[in-house]
Amino acid sequence: MSLTDVQLKNLETKANDIRMSILEMLVAAGSGHTAGPMGMADIFTALYFHILNHDPKNPEWVNRDRLILSNGHIVPVRYATMAHAGYFPVTELNTLRKFGSRLQGHPERHALPGLENTSGPLGSGLSQASGIALGLRMDANSLKLSGASALFPKPHVYCLMSDGELDEGNSWEAIMFAGNRKLSNLTAIIDRNNIQIDGMTEDIMPLEPLADKWRAFNWHVIEIDGHNFTDIIDAVNQAKAIIEKPTVIIAHTIPGKGITEIEGDYKWHGVPPSKDQAEAWLKGLRTLGGKIEGGHLD
Protein backbone atom coordinates (compact mmCIF):
# COMPACT_ATOMS: atom_id res chain seq x y z
CA MET A 1 0.00 0.00 0.00
CA SER A 2 3.01 2.30 0.25
CA LEU A 3 3.42 5.01 -2.34
CA THR A 4 5.49 4.57 -5.45
CA ASP A 5 7.89 7.34 -6.37
CA VAL A 6 5.62 8.36 -9.21
CA GLN A 7 2.57 8.50 -6.96
CA LEU A 8 4.47 10.57 -4.42
CA LYS A 9 5.67 12.97 -7.07
CA ASN A 10 2.15 13.33 -8.43
CA LEU A 11 0.74 14.10 -4.99
CA GLU A 12 3.44 16.70 -4.33
CA THR A 13 2.76 18.35 -7.65
CA LYS A 14 -0.97 18.34 -7.02
CA ALA A 15 -0.54 19.87 -3.56
CA ASN A 16 1.60 22.58 -5.09
CA ASP A 17 -1.10 23.33 -7.66
CA ILE A 18 -3.69 23.49 -4.89
CA ARG A 19 -1.57 25.91 -2.85
CA MET A 20 -1.33 28.17 -5.88
CA SER A 21 -5.08 28.03 -6.36
CA ILE A 22 -5.60 28.91 -2.70
CA LEU A 23 -3.44 32.02 -3.00
CA GLU A 24 -5.14 33.06 -6.23
CA MET A 25 -8.63 32.64 -4.83
CA LEU A 26 -7.82 34.49 -1.60
CA VAL A 27 -6.44 37.43 -3.55
CA ALA A 28 -9.52 37.46 -5.77
CA ALA A 29 -11.79 37.30 -2.71
CA GLY A 30 -9.95 40.04 -0.81
CA SER A 31 -10.66 38.32 2.50
CA GLY A 32 -10.35 34.89 4.04
CA HIS A 33 -7.92 32.67 5.88
CA THR A 34 -4.45 31.89 4.59
CA ALA A 35 -2.48 29.91 7.17
CA GLY A 36 -4.84 26.98 7.74
CA PRO A 37 -5.64 26.22 4.09
CA MET A 38 -1.96 26.32 3.11
CA GLY A 39 -1.04 24.11 6.05
CA MET A 40 -3.71 21.53 5.20
CA ALA A 41 -3.06 21.36 1.45
CA ASP A 42 -1.05 18.13 1.72
CA ILE A 43 -3.67 16.34 3.80
CA PHE A 44 -6.51 17.42 1.50
CA THR A 45 -4.49 16.32 -1.49
CA ALA A 46 -3.79 12.93 0.06
CA LEU A 47 -7.48 12.51 0.90
CA TYR A 48 -9.01 13.50 -2.44
CA PHE A 49 -6.29 12.05 -4.67
CA HIS A 50 -5.40 8.84 -2.87
CA ILE A 51 -7.48 7.95 0.19
CA LEU A 52 -11.15 8.78 -0.32
CA ASN A 53 -13.53 6.45 -2.04
CA HIS A 54 -15.49 9.10 -3.93
CA ASP A 55 -16.84 10.11 -7.32
CA PRO A 56 -16.63 13.79 -8.27
CA LYS A 57 -19.28 13.21 -10.94
CA ASN A 58 -21.67 11.66 -8.44
CA PRO A 59 -21.21 13.58 -5.18
CA GLU A 60 -24.31 12.03 -3.56
CA TRP A 61 -23.17 8.44 -4.18
CA VAL A 62 -24.48 6.58 -1.15
CA ASN A 63 -21.34 4.51 -0.62
CA ARG A 64 -18.91 7.42 -0.76
CA ASP A 65 -16.57 8.06 2.13
CA ARG A 66 -17.70 11.14 4.04
CA LEU A 67 -15.31 14.02 4.62
CA ILE A 68 -16.64 16.35 7.29
CA LEU A 69 -14.86 19.66 7.68
CA SER A 70 -15.29 20.97 11.22
CA ASN A 71 -13.19 24.14 11.11
CA GLY A 72 -15.07 25.65 8.19
CA HIS A 73 -12.80 28.67 7.89
CA ILE A 74 -10.16 26.62 6.05
CA VAL A 75 -12.68 25.76 3.33
CA PRO A 76 -10.61 27.42 0.55
CA VAL A 77 -8.35 24.36 0.65
CA ARG A 78 -11.39 22.11 0.29
CA TYR A 79 -12.77 24.15 -2.61
CA ALA A 80 -9.40 24.20 -4.34
CA THR A 81 -8.89 20.47 -3.87
CA MET A 82 -12.42 19.62 -5.02
CA ALA A 83 -11.97 21.76 -8.13
CA HIS A 84 -8.69 20.05 -8.99
CA ALA A 85 -10.36 16.68 -8.33
CA GLY A 86 -13.05 17.47 -10.89
CA TYR A 87 -16.07 18.45 -8.79
CA PHE A 88 -16.37 21.80 -10.56
CA PRO A 89 -14.26 23.98 -12.88
CA VAL A 90 -11.07 25.42 -11.41
CA THR A 91 -12.08 28.81 -12.84
CA GLU A 92 -15.01 28.91 -10.41
CA LEU A 93 -12.53 29.22 -7.53
CA ASN A 94 -12.29 32.93 -8.31
CA THR A 95 -15.89 33.37 -7.11
CA LEU A 96 -14.93 32.58 -3.51
CA ARG A 97 -16.85 34.77 -1.04
CA LYS A 98 -18.57 36.70 -3.84
CA PHE A 99 -22.28 37.41 -4.07
CA GLY A 100 -24.16 34.54 -5.69
CA SER A 101 -21.21 32.15 -5.49
CA ARG A 102 -21.52 28.51 -4.58
CA LEU A 103 -18.25 28.98 -2.71
CA GLN A 104 -19.56 30.66 0.43
CA GLY A 105 -17.12 32.19 2.90
CA HIS A 106 -17.78 29.25 5.17
CA PRO A 107 -19.07 25.98 3.72
CA GLU A 108 -22.80 25.40 3.37
CA ARG A 109 -24.03 21.90 2.72
CA HIS A 110 -26.60 22.81 0.10
CA ALA A 111 -24.54 25.46 -1.67
CA LEU A 112 -22.18 23.08 -3.45
CA PRO A 113 -22.57 19.34 -4.15
CA GLY A 114 -19.92 17.34 -2.32
CA LEU A 115 -19.55 19.60 0.70
CA GLU A 116 -21.32 17.20 3.13
CA ASN A 117 -21.86 19.69 5.97
CA THR A 118 -22.19 23.28 7.09
CA SER A 119 -19.51 24.58 9.43
CA GLY A 120 -17.78 27.69 10.62
CA PRO A 121 -18.86 27.97 14.23
CA LEU A 122 -16.25 25.72 15.81
CA GLY A 123 -16.50 22.51 17.75
CA SER A 124 -19.48 20.78 16.17
CA GLY A 125 -17.97 18.95 13.19
CA LEU A 126 -16.93 15.88 15.13
CA SER A 127 -20.47 15.50 16.47
CA GLN A 128 -21.85 15.68 12.94
CA ALA A 129 -19.27 13.17 11.76
CA SER A 130 -20.14 10.89 14.70
CA GLY A 131 -23.82 11.02 13.75
CA ILE A 132 -23.02 10.06 10.16
CA ALA A 133 -20.69 7.26 11.32
CA LEU A 134 -23.40 6.00 13.66
CA GLY A 135 -25.99 6.01 10.89
CA LEU A 136 -23.64 4.18 8.53
CA ARG A 137 -22.93 1.56 11.17
CA MET A 138 -26.66 1.06 11.83
CA ASP A 139 -27.15 0.34 8.14
CA ALA A 140 -23.82 -1.41 7.49
CA ASN A 141 -25.49 -4.73 6.78
CA SER A 142 -27.95 -3.26 4.34
CA LEU A 143 -25.68 -0.92 2.38
CA LYS A 144 -24.61 -3.81 0.13
CA LEU A 145 -21.05 -2.60 -0.06
CA SER A 146 -18.56 -5.42 -0.41
CA GLY A 147 -17.17 -6.41 2.95
CA ALA A 148 -19.28 -4.04 5.02
CA SER A 149 -20.82 -5.29 8.24
CA ALA A 150 -21.68 -3.98 11.68
CA LEU A 151 -18.18 -4.94 12.80
CA PHE A 152 -16.52 -3.52 9.71
CA PRO A 153 -18.79 -0.67 8.72
CA LYS A 154 -18.18 1.08 5.44
CA PRO A 155 -17.96 3.74 4.11
CA HIS A 156 -15.44 5.54 6.31
CA VAL A 157 -16.04 8.96 7.85
CA TYR A 158 -13.24 11.50 8.15
CA CYS A 159 -13.50 14.62 10.28
CA LEU A 160 -10.95 17.35 9.75
CA MET A 161 -10.64 19.62 12.75
CA SER A 162 -8.40 22.36 14.05
CA ASP A 163 -6.47 22.31 17.29
CA GLY A 164 -7.93 25.68 18.32
CA GLU A 165 -11.46 24.32 18.23
CA LEU A 166 -10.53 21.83 20.92
CA ASP A 167 -11.15 24.78 23.27
CA GLU A 168 -14.85 24.15 22.61
CA GLY A 169 -16.81 22.03 25.06
CA ASN A 170 -18.82 20.56 22.20
CA SER A 171 -15.62 19.00 20.83
CA TRP A 172 -15.07 17.05 24.03
CA GLU A 173 -18.70 15.99 24.20
CA ALA A 174 -18.19 14.46 20.76
CA ILE A 175 -14.86 12.89 21.66
CA MET A 176 -16.47 11.26 24.70
CA PHE A 177 -19.44 10.07 22.65
CA ALA A 178 -17.49 8.54 19.75
CA GLY A 179 -15.15 6.78 22.20
CA ASN A 180 -18.13 5.42 24.11
CA ARG A 181 -19.78 4.16 20.94
CA LYS A 182 -16.49 2.72 19.56
CA LEU A 183 -17.10 4.41 16.21
CA SER A 184 -14.28 2.65 14.40
CA ASN A 185 -15.53 3.91 11.04
CA LEU A 186 -14.67 7.43 12.15
CA THR A 187 -11.23 8.99 11.86
CA ALA A 188 -10.55 12.49 13.14
CA ILE A 189 -7.61 14.38 11.70
CA ILE A 190 -6.42 17.34 13.75
CA ASP A 191 -4.57 20.16 12.06
CA ARG A 192 -2.06 20.55 14.90
CA ASN A 193 -0.52 23.79 13.73
CA ASN A 194 -0.32 25.31 17.21
CA ILE A 195 -1.93 28.61 16.25
CA GLN A 196 -5.31 30.20 16.76
CA ILE A 197 -6.55 33.71 16.07
CA ASP A 198 -5.19 35.37 19.19
CA GLY A 199 -1.84 33.58 19.37
CA MET A 200 -0.24 30.22 20.07
CA THR A 201 -2.55 27.48 21.36
CA GLU A 202 -0.28 26.71 24.27
CA ASP A 203 -0.44 30.35 25.38
CA ILE A 204 -4.17 30.87 24.87
CA MET A 205 -5.51 27.61 26.31
CA PRO A 206 -2.96 24.81 26.48
CA LEU A 207 -4.01 21.54 24.84
CA GLU A 208 -1.03 19.39 25.79
CA PRO A 209 -0.75 16.57 26.59
CA LEU A 210 -3.14 16.31 23.66
CA ALA A 211 -2.52 12.68 22.68
CA ASP A 212 -3.01 11.57 26.29
CA LYS A 213 -6.31 13.41 26.47
CA TRP A 214 -7.69 11.57 23.43
CA ARG A 215 -6.36 8.23 24.71
CA ALA A 216 -8.13 8.89 28.00
CA PHE A 217 -11.37 9.27 26.03
CA ASN A 218 -10.85 5.82 24.45
CA TRP A 219 -9.49 6.83 21.06
CA HIS A 220 -6.58 5.27 19.17
CA VAL A 221 -4.02 8.02 18.65
CA ILE A 222 -1.49 8.40 15.83
CA GLU A 223 0.87 11.37 15.54
CA ILE A 224 2.31 12.25 12.15
CA ASP A 225 4.10 14.86 10.11
CA GLY A 226 1.13 16.38 8.29
CA HIS A 227 3.26 17.26 5.27
CA ASN A 228 4.59 13.77 4.68
CA PHE A 229 2.32 11.92 2.24
CA THR A 230 3.60 8.51 3.25
CA ASP A 231 2.90 9.34 6.90
CA ILE A 232 -0.61 10.57 6.10
CA ILE A 233 -1.57 7.54 4.04
CA ASP A 234 0.00 5.02 6.42
CA ALA A 235 -1.82 6.60 9.35
CA VAL A 236 -5.18 6.42 7.59
CA ASN A 237 -4.58 2.78 6.69
CA GLN A 238 -3.76 2.04 10.31
CA ALA A 239 -6.89 3.91 11.44
CA LYS A 240 -9.06 1.75 9.19
CA ALA A 241 -7.47 -1.38 10.61
CA ILE A 242 -8.36 -0.46 14.21
CA ILE A 243 -11.82 -1.85 14.87
CA GLU A 244 -12.04 -1.38 18.63
CA LYS A 245 -11.98 2.39 18.69
CA PRO A 246 -12.22 5.55 16.65
CA THR A 247 -8.84 6.92 15.62
CA VAL A 248 -7.48 10.42 15.83
CA ILE A 249 -4.54 11.41 13.67
CA ILE A 250 -2.75 14.35 15.21
CA ALA A 251 -1.15 15.87 12.14
CA HIS A 252 1.64 18.23 13.02
CA THR A 253 1.52 20.90 10.36
CA ILE A 254 3.10 24.24 9.63
CA PRO A 255 0.55 27.02 9.23
CA GLY A 256 1.14 28.81 5.95
CA LYS A 257 3.21 25.84 4.69
CA GLY A 258 4.83 26.53 1.35
CA ILE A 259 5.32 30.25 1.89
CA THR A 260 8.48 30.74 3.91
CA GLU A 261 7.56 34.31 4.89
CA ILE A 262 4.40 33.32 6.72
CA GLU A 263 5.11 29.79 7.94
CA GLY A 264 4.32 29.47 11.64
CA ASP A 265 3.01 33.03 12.04
CA TYR A 266 -0.40 33.12 13.76
CA LYS A 267 -1.07 36.59 12.34
CA TRP A 268 -1.81 34.89 9.01
CA HIS A 269 -4.69 32.91 10.48
CA GLY A 270 -7.49 35.10 9.20
CA VAL A 271 -6.12 37.43 6.54
CA PRO A 272 -5.46 37.04 2.81
CA PRO A 273 -2.26 38.07 1.03
CA SER A 274 -2.09 41.28 -0.98
CA LYS A 275 -1.84 41.03 -4.75
CA ASP A 276 1.88 41.79 -4.70
CA GLN A 277 2.59 39.29 -1.95
CA ALA A 278 0.62 36.62 -3.73
CA GLU A 279 2.43 37.22 -7.01
CA ALA A 280 5.81 36.77 -5.37
CA TRP A 281 4.67 33.68 -3.51
CA LEU A 282 3.05 32.19 -6.58
CA LYS A 283 6.31 32.58 -8.42
CA GLY A 284 8.01 30.71 -5.61
CA LEU A 285 5.48 27.90 -5.77
CA ARG A 286 5.60 27.77 -9.55
CA THR A 287 9.34 27.22 -9.47
CA LEU A 288 9.10 24.89 -6.49
CA GLY A 289 11.11 27.30 -4.38
CA GLY A 290 13.58 28.16 -7.15
CA LYS A 291 14.48 24.52 -7.73
CA ILE A 292 13.15 24.55 -11.27
CA GLU A 293 12.73 27.15 -13.97
CA GLY A 294 9.22 28.18 -14.84
CA GLY A 295 6.67 25.59 -13.85
CA HIS A 296 4.41 22.92 -15.13
CA LEU A 297 1.42 25.26 -15.18
CA ASP A 298 3.10 27.99 -17.25
Binding site: I68, E108, R109, H110, E116, N117, T118, S119, G120, P121, G123, S124, S127, Q128, A129, S130, G131, I132, A133, L134, G135, L136, M138, D139, G169, N170, E173, A174, M176, F177
Partner: protein
Protein backbone atom coordinates in the same frame (compact mmCIF):
# COMPACT_ATOMS: atom_id res chain seq x y z
CA UNK B 1 -69.70 27.00 20.90
CA UNK B 2 -67.02 24.38 21.14
CA UNK B 3 -65.85 22.96 17.81
CA UNK B 4 -67.70 19.73 17.04
CA UNK B 5 -64.80 17.30 17.39
CA UNK B 6 -63.59 18.81 20.68
CA UNK B 7 -64.59 17.70 24.15
CA UNK B 8 -63.36 19.32 27.35
CA UNK B 9 -62.34 16.68 29.84
CA UNK B 10 -60.77 17.47 33.18
CA UNK B 11 -61.12 13.95 34.57
CA UNK B 12 -58.39 11.89 32.92
CA UNK B 13 -55.63 14.49 32.64
CA UNK B 14 -52.35 13.87 30.87
CA UNK B 15 -49.34 15.96 29.90
CA UNK B 16 -48.43 16.83 26.31
CA UNK B 17 -45.15 14.93 26.86
CA UNK B 18 -47.24 11.79 27.37
CA UNK B 19 -48.86 12.17 23.97
CA UNK B 20 -45.46 12.71 22.40
CA UNK B 21 -44.17 9.44 23.90
CA UNK B 22 -47.12 7.50 22.47
CA UNK B 23 -46.85 9.22 19.09
CA UNK B 24 -43.13 8.56 18.79
CA UNK B 25 -43.60 4.81 19.18
CA UNK B 26 -46.35 4.88 16.55
CA UNK B 27 -44.16 6.88 14.20
CA UNK B 28 -41.25 4.52 14.84
CA UNK B 29 -43.36 1.54 13.85
CA UNK B 30 -44.24 3.01 10.49
CA UNK B 31 -40.86 4.50 9.61
CA UNK B 32 -37.58 2.72 10.23
CA UNK B 33 -35.60 5.90 9.69
CA UNK B 34 -36.85 7.33 12.97
CA UNK B 35 -34.32 7.28 15.79
CA UNK B 36 -34.40 8.92 19.22
CA UNK B 37 -31.69 10.53 21.31
CA UNK B 38 -31.93 11.95 24.80
CA UNK B 39 -29.65 13.94 27.08
CA UNK B 40 -30.04 11.86 30.23
CA UNK B 41 -33.80 12.50 30.44
CA UNK B 42 -35.26 9.30 29.06
CA UNK B 43 -38.15 8.88 31.47
CA UNK B 44 -39.24 12.46 32.03
CA UNK B 45 -39.19 13.30 28.31
CA UNK B 46 -41.26 10.16 27.70
CA UNK B 47 -38.87 8.63 25.20
CA UNK B 48 -38.53 5.51 27.32
CA UNK B 49 -41.27 3.60 25.52
CA UNK B 50 -39.51 4.15 22.19
CA UNK B 51 -36.22 3.03 23.77
CA UNK B 52 -37.84 -0.21 24.92
CA UNK B 53 -39.58 -0.84 21.60
CA UNK B 54 -36.56 0.03 19.44
CA UNK B 55 -33.38 -0.35 21.52
CA UNK B 56 -31.17 -0.30 18.41
CA UNK B 57 -32.63 3.03 17.36
CA UNK B 58 -32.29 4.78 20.70
CA UNK B 59 -29.16 6.62 21.84
CA UNK B 60 -28.42 7.87 25.33
CA UNK B 61 -26.21 10.92 24.92
CA UNK B 62 -25.54 11.86 28.54
CA UNK B 63 -25.88 15.40 29.82
CA UNK B 64 -24.53 16.99 26.64
CA UNK B 65 -27.12 18.99 24.73
CA UNK B 66 -24.71 20.44 22.18
CA UNK B 67 -23.59 16.98 21.17
CA UNK B 68 -27.20 15.75 21.35
CA UNK B 69 -28.35 17.98 18.55
CA UNK B 70 -25.19 17.86 16.42
CA UNK B 71 -24.96 14.06 16.44
CA UNK B 72 -28.63 14.14 15.43
CA UNK B 73 -27.67 16.52 12.64
CA UNK B 74 -25.16 13.95 11.40
CA UNK B 75 -27.69 11.13 11.62
CA UNK B 76 -30.19 13.22 9.67
CA UNK B 77 -27.52 14.21 7.17
CA UNK B 78 -26.94 10.50 6.58
CA UNK B 79 -30.66 9.74 6.17
CA UNK B 80 -32.22 9.12 9.57
CA UNK B 81 -35.03 11.14 11.15
CA UNK B 82 -33.84 11.85 14.70
CA UNK B 83 -36.02 13.03 17.58
CA UNK B 84 -33.90 14.62 20.31
CA UNK B 85 -35.37 15.11 23.75
CA UNK B 86 -34.38 17.28 26.67
CA UNK B 87 -35.84 20.16 28.65
CA UNK B 88 -36.55 23.27 26.64
CA UNK B 89 -34.25 25.43 28.76
CA UNK B 90 -31.35 23.15 27.74
CA UNK B 91 -32.42 22.23 24.22
CA UNK B 92 -32.94 24.61 22.41
CA UNK B 93 -31.72 26.79 25.29
CA UNK B 94 -28.08 25.74 25.46
CA UNK B 95 -27.51 24.51 21.91
CA UNK B 96 -29.02 27.32 19.85
CA UNK B 97 -25.97 27.85 17.64
CA UNK B 98 -25.67 24.15 16.87
CA UNK B 99 -29.35 24.09 15.92
CA UNK B 100 -28.91 27.17 13.75
CA UNK B 101 -25.83 25.91 11.91
CA UNK B 102 -26.05 22.14 11.81
CA UNK B 103 -29.82 21.69 11.71
CA UNK B 104 -31.30 24.78 10.07
CA UNK B 105 -28.58 25.86 7.63
CA UNK B 106 -27.88 22.18 6.91
CA UNK B 107 -31.68 21.89 6.53
CA UNK B 108 -31.91 18.36 7.91
CA UNK B 109 -34.97 16.75 9.55
CA UNK B 110 -33.94 16.87 13.21
CA UNK B 111 -36.96 17.08 15.53
CA UNK B 112 -36.14 19.00 18.71
CA UNK B 113 -38.42 18.07 21.57
CA UNK B 114 -38.38 20.72 24.30
CA UNK B 115 -40.05 19.30 27.38
CA UNK B 116 -40.93 21.05 30.63
CA UNK B 117 -41.51 24.31 28.80
CA UNK B 118 -43.33 27.18 30.45
CA UNK B 119 -44.20 28.10 34.02
CA UNK B 120 -46.18 24.93 34.63
CA UNK B 121 -42.94 23.07 35.35
CA UNK B 122 -43.78 24.49 38.76
CA UNK B 123 -41.53 23.82 41.78
CA UNK B 124 -38.28 23.49 39.79
CA UNK B 125 -38.23 27.26 39.49
CA UNK B 126 -36.92 29.82 37.01
CA UNK B 127 -33.88 27.87 35.77
CA UNK B 128 -36.15 25.14 34.39
CA UNK B 129 -39.06 27.24 33.16
CA UNK B 130 -38.41 27.94 29.47
CA UNK B 131 -40.18 31.16 28.48
CA UNK B 132 -38.13 32.15 25.45
CA UNK B 133 -37.92 28.96 23.39
CA UNK B 134 -40.70 29.84 20.93
CA UNK B 135 -38.94 33.12 20.17
CA UNK B 136 -35.52 31.59 19.51
CA UNK B 137 -36.92 28.76 17.41
CA UNK B 138 -39.37 30.70 15.29
CA UNK B 139 -36.73 33.19 14.25
CA UNK B 140 -34.71 30.46 12.50
CA UNK B 141 -35.23 29.93 8.76
CA UNK B 142 -36.27 26.35 7.83
CA UNK B 143 -37.59 25.67 11.35
CA UNK B 144 -41.16 24.56 12.08
CA UNK B 145 -42.54 25.36 15.55
CA UNK B 146 -45.46 23.48 17.11
CA UNK B 147 -47.04 24.00 20.54
CA UNK B 148 -49.74 21.38 21.15
CA UNK B 149 -52.61 22.16 23.51
CA UNK B 150 -53.12 18.69 24.96
CA UNK B 151 -51.81 15.15 24.96
CA UNK B 152 -53.79 13.98 21.91
CA UNK B 153 -52.71 16.96 19.85
CA UNK B 154 -49.11 16.28 20.91
CA UNK B 155 -49.46 12.70 19.68
CA UNK B 156 -50.78 13.83 16.31
CA UNK B 157 -48.18 16.59 16.03
CA UNK B 158 -45.45 14.01 16.63
CA UNK B 159 -46.80 11.77 13.87
CA UNK B 160 -47.06 14.72 11.51
CA UNK B 161 -43.59 16.09 12.22
CA UNK B 162 -42.13 12.61 11.75
CA UNK B 163 -43.25 12.76 8.15
CA UNK B 164 -41.85 16.16 7.20
CA UNK B 165 -38.35 16.35 5.81
CA UNK B 166 -37.62 19.59 7.68
CA UNK B 167 -36.24 20.71 11.06
CA UNK B 168 -38.89 21.06 13.74
CA UNK B 169 -39.34 22.19 17.32
CA UNK B 170 -42.09 20.61 19.42
CA UNK B 171 -42.79 22.39 22.70
CA UNK B 172 -44.13 20.20 25.48
CA UNK B 173 -45.25 20.69 29.08
CA UNK B 174 -44.58 18.73 32.23
CA UNK B 175 -47.91 19.24 33.93
CA UNK B 176 -51.03 17.20 33.38
CA UNK B 177 -53.67 19.31 31.69
CA UNK B 178 -57.33 18.89 30.71
CA UNK B 179 -57.90 17.35 27.32
CA UNK B 180 -59.55 19.43 24.62
CA UNK B 181 -59.08 17.52 21.38
CA UNK B 182 -60.27 13.98 20.69
CA UNK B 183 -59.31 11.17 18.36
CA UNK B 184 -61.77 12.76 15.90
CA UNK B 185 -59.95 16.09 15.83
CA UNK B 186 -57.71 16.48 12.82
CA UNK B 187 -54.27 18.06 13.03
CA UNK B 188 -53.02 20.00 10.06
CA UNK B 189 -49.57 21.53 10.31
CA UNK B 190 -49.65 25.28 9.77
CA UNK B 191 -53.43 25.54 10.08
CA UNK B 192 -55.07 27.11 13.11
CA UNK B 193 -58.73 26.40 13.75
CA UNK B 194 -61.63 27.76 15.77
CA UNK B 195 -61.75 25.76 18.98
CA UNK B 196 -64.63 27.93 20.15
CA UNK B 197 -66.72 30.00 17.79
CA UNK B 198 -69.74 32.25 18.04
CA UNK B 199 -71.79 33.81 15.26
CA UNK B 200 -71.26 37.45 16.16
CA UNK B 201 -68.05 37.44 18.14
CA UNK B 202 -66.77 40.71 19.60
CA UNK B 203 -63.21 39.53 20.12
CA UNK B 204 -60.89 36.68 19.08
CA UNK B 205 -58.45 34.93 21.37
CA UNK B 206 -55.51 33.33 19.57
CA UNK B 207 -53.89 30.85 21.94
CA UNK B 208 -51.44 27.98 22.00
CA UNK B 209 -50.46 25.21 24.39
CA UNK B 210 -51.99 25.02 27.84
CA UNK B 211 -53.52 28.48 27.39
CA UNK B 212 -56.02 27.17 24.83
CA UNK B 213 -57.98 25.59 27.67
CA UNK B 214 -57.88 28.76 29.77
CA UNK B 215 -59.03 30.73 26.73
CA UNK B 216 -61.99 28.43 26.12
CA UNK B 217 -63.04 28.70 29.78
CA UNK B 218 -62.80 32.50 29.57
CA UNK B 219 -64.87 32.47 26.35
CA UNK B 220 -67.54 30.26 27.87
CA UNK B 221 -67.82 32.40 30.98
CA UNK B 222 -67.95 35.69 29.08
CA UNK B 223 -70.53 34.20 26.70
CA UNK B 224 -72.92 33.77 29.56
CA UNK B 225 -72.44 37.49 30.30
CA UNK B 226 -73.29 38.49 26.74
CA UNK B 227 -69.75 39.00 25.44
CA UNK B 228 -69.15 36.78 22.43
CA UNK B 229 -65.64 35.44 22.13
CA UNK B 230 -63.96 33.24 19.50
CA UNK B 231 -60.93 31.10 20.36
CA UNK B 232 -58.42 29.99 17.75
CA UNK B 233 -56.10 27.11 18.61
CA UNK B 234 -52.86 28.17 16.95
CA UNK B 235 -50.86 25.00 17.50
CA UNK B 236 -48.39 25.84 14.75
CA UNK B 237 -46.46 29.04 15.42
CA UNK B 238 -44.34 28.56 12.31
CA UNK B 239 -45.35 28.43 9.53
CA UNK B 240 -48.04 30.72 10.90
CA UNK B 241 -51.59 30.58 9.55
CA UNK B 242 -51.76 34.18 8.36
CA UNK B 243 -55.15 33.75 6.70
CA UNK B 244 -57.04 32.78 9.82
CA UNK B 245 -55.45 35.67 11.76
CA UNK B 246 -56.41 38.22 9.13
CA UNK B 247 -59.94 36.89 8.77
CA UNK B 248 -60.36 36.89 12.56
CA UNK B 249 -59.22 40.51 12.75
CA UNK B 250 -61.69 41.43 10.02
CA UNK B 251 -64.49 39.55 11.78
CA UNK B 252 -64.07 40.89 15.33
CA UNK B 253 -61.67 43.83 15.10
CA UNK B 254 -60.09 42.91 18.45
CA UNK B 255 -57.49 40.25 19.27
CA UNK B 256 -56.13 38.76 22.48
CA UNK B 257 -53.14 36.42 22.23
CA UNK B 258 -52.38 33.92 24.98
CA UNK B 259 -49.26 31.84 25.55
CA UNK B 260 -47.15 30.42 28.33
CA UNK B 261 -44.10 32.31 27.13
CA UNK B 262 -42.55 35.76 27.15
CA UNK B 263 -44.70 38.22 25.25
CA UNK B 264 -41.55 39.25 23.41
CA UNK B 265 -40.98 37.07 20.38
CA UNK B 266 -43.66 34.47 20.97
CA UNK B 267 -47.10 33.78 19.51
CA UNK B 268 -48.32 37.29 20.39
CA UNK B 269 -45.44 38.89 18.54
CA UNK B 270 -46.00 36.60 15.56
CA UNK B 271 -49.68 37.55 15.40
CA UNK B 272 -48.85 41.24 15.82
CA UNK B 273 -46.36 41.04 12.95
CA UNK B 274 -49.06 39.73 10.65
CA UNK B 275 -51.71 42.24 11.68
CA UNK B 276 -49.36 45.23 11.65
CA UNK B 277 -48.67 44.43 8.00
CA UNK B 278 -52.10 43.28 6.89
CA UNK B 279 -54.93 44.55 9.04
CA UNK B 280 -54.08 46.49 12.22
CA UNK B 281 -56.57 46.10 15.08
CA UNK B 282 -56.18 46.46 18.87
CA UNK B 283 -54.30 43.51 20.42
CA UNK B 284 -53.81 42.58 24.07
CA UNK B 285 -51.11 40.10 24.99
CA UNK B 286 -51.39 37.39 27.63
CA UNK B 287 -47.92 36.12 28.47
CA UNK B 288 -45.00 36.70 30.77
CA UNK B 289 -43.76 40.28 30.81
CA UNK B 290 -39.98 40.40 30.91
CA UNK B 291 -39.71 38.36 34.09
CA UNK B 292 -38.32 34.97 35.05
CA UNK B 293 -40.55 32.42 36.74
CA UNK B 294 -40.15 31.03 40.26
CA UNK B 295 -41.04 28.00 42.33
CA UNK B 296 -44.70 27.33 43.02
CA UNK B 297 -47.57 25.16 41.92
CA UNK B 298 -48.61 25.55 38.28
CA UNK B 299 -51.92 27.10 39.41
CA UNK B 300 -50.19 29.60 41.67
CA UNK B 301 -47.79 30.58 38.91
CA UNK B 302 -50.47 30.91 36.22
CA UNK B 303 -52.39 33.24 38.51
CA UNK B 304 -49.36 35.28 39.63
CA UNK B 305 -48.07 35.79 36.09
CA UNK B 306 -51.60 36.51 34.83
CA UNK B 307 -51.99 33.59 32.46
CA UNK B 308 -55.17 32.18 34.04
CA UNK B 309 -58.65 32.47 32.58
CA UNK B 310 -59.49 35.42 34.87
CA UNK B 311 -56.56 37.35 33.44
CA UNK B 312 -57.65 36.46 29.90
CA UNK B 313 -61.09 37.83 30.68
CA UNK B 314 -59.44 41.03 31.91
CA UNK B 315 -57.51 41.32 28.65
CA UNK B 316 -60.76 40.86 26.70
CA UNK B 317 -62.37 43.75 28.57
CA UNK B 318 -59.26 45.85 27.92
CA UNK B 319 -59.20 45.15 24.20
CA UNK B 320 -62.95 45.78 23.88
CA UNK B 321 -62.49 49.21 25.50
CA UNK B 322 -59.76 50.03 22.98
CA UNK B 323 -61.87 48.73 20.12
CA UNK B 324 -64.51 51.22 21.22
Amino acid sequence: MLYKTLKLNTEDQKATRDGFGVGLVEAGKSDERIVALTADLKESTRVEAFAQEFPDRFFEMGVAEQNLVTVASGLANYGKVPFVTSYATFSPGRNLEQIRTTVCINDVPVKIIGCHAGLTVGPDGATHQALEDIAIMRVLPNMTVVVPCDTEEARKATLTLAMTNKPAYLRLGRDKTPSITTSETSFELGKGYYAFETDSADVTIIACGALVYNAIIAAEELGSQGINVDVINMHTIKPLDRDIIISAAKKTGAIVTAEEHQITGGLGSAVAEVLAEEYPVPIEFIGVRNQFGQSGTPAELMKFYKLDSESIKGAIHDVLRRKG
